[in-house]
């Protein structure tokens, strides 16, 4: 089963900053939405959203979890 990594972002209240709280793996968006809600349920979130990790474009680092090779540009 092909699994995709999704990163999970939440905020507790309307004015809060959206914060990265973790990630999960799922085969598609529909399952990823449910998994996010059931896995990261420690708070009564005002907002939760998920992003496929492949859509996150690193700007200043080439290491760390978001540094996907496909986005690297050589000088």
């Amino acid at each position: 089963m092909d699994e995709i990594i999704y990163d999970v972002f939440t905020r507790k209240s309307r004015g809060d900053t959206l914060t990265h709280v973790g990630y999960l793996t799922a085969p598609d968006e529909a399952m990823a939405r449910v998994y996010a809600w059931t896995t990261y349920d420690e708070e009564n979130w005002f907002e939760m959203c998920i992003v496929p990790r492949s859509a996150i474009i690193p700007v200043n680092r080439t290491d760390g979890p978001f540094a996907a090779a496909s986005h690297e540009v050589s000088a």
């Binding site: 089963m1 699994e3 799922a26 529909a30 399952m31 449910v34 998994y35 809600w37 059931t38 896995t39």
Partner: protein
Amino acid sequence: MSGVEAGLPGMDDAVRTAFRRLLLSLADSKRILGIRYSDWLLGAPSIEAGIAASSMAQDEWGHARLLYASLKDFGDDPVALEHDRQAAEYASMEALDAPFDDWARVIAGAVVVDGALAVALRAVAEGGYEPIEGRISKMLGEEAFHRSLAEAWFRRLAGSEEGARRLKGAVEEWLAPTLRVLAPDDEGHRVLAAAGLTLPAAELRARLAERVSPLLELLSVEMPEPLGLDDWDEGRGRGPGHPAEEAVERARGDLNRALFVE
């Protein structure tokens, strides 16, 4: 319809008896469904799927507890309902009598049984029974996630020959008895629908059909007719049989009886 008071004061005994049967059927089904989901906390296809099963089990137990508590208004002792009854007294749906043997049956159960329970709950909310009307909307909010998970997994499993075969076996086994419990064409259901506390049987069946038909089409399965009433247990609102003893022992909390603080 709205503003129907606790315990249905002023209504016929037949309506009160039928509404009590409906609430107990929903409560017992949710309690046993919670146990069936909880069996898959470990051993699901992924850690995330297991966590989702665990979350769904907790949701079902929460819903069951609220429904048991609501039966106090009909002269029941909720603690006795939860902890003192024998398996043969349970009114849970037949599809839940045995454990879900594999993940395909978990998903088929979430589609057919959990789906039917959501349809029944929504109809109760629309009937305006005030003591639980507001809380049902919270339950249905949680059920929306159960439905998303179930339908996503159903589509995925239906895409493989083995997955489709297993799903088909489960839905063909469970649809007809579940339709009968959801919408029995018996006197009890008729008086309830006439009182506006739920929907007529044909409407309930149509709602479940609308919900599950797109999934059944993936398996070339059509909605069956509900089972007839030849072996219908009118008192419990289900067919013969009962959930396996082991599940009922867990539902009652037998092993922890000495520790009860309620």
